[in-house]
Symmetry: C2
Amino acid sequence: MPTDTVKVKVIVTLKPTLLDAQGRVVKSALHSLGYSAVNQVRIGKYMELEISRATAGDAAALDATVKEMCDRLLVNPVIENYSFEVTE
Amino acid sequence: MPTDTVKVKVIVTLKPTLLDAQGRVVKSALHSLGYSAVNQVRIGKYMELEISRATAGDAAALDATVKEMCDRLLVNPVIENYSFEVTE
């Protein structure tokens, strides 16, 4: 039975060419704890949006809306990349 | 050809029972922009770890190590849940 909302999972990551200061700190913390096998850590954001199916329209419309929300608010396109996935 | 590192993607989310203040702010910002179909936003963290395959051991050992890293440093088990996925 389909629910009346769709869940969209958005992952936002810093562009690979940019220095991830937070990631470097976490990496050295992991090294201090003895996890020396960790070569790199990069930190990003994760967002879960619940969107009502009735207003969202079909899959293509929903995709377009999520892209627009990312471009307009959720993501800084100058320094970040994003990907998203629609689940039920 | 297998690379010499594995990539582990960790998603950390606030426990569902906790109020996500940041998510509420993003939700009302989305509403102000006209995206009224958004019912809920929850914000989490995303981490990408690169672990050298030689030191990591087999899949079970790697899983155990990542769990340990999450429990010891990356996640606050009092307020957060996590899940991870190992990719090549």
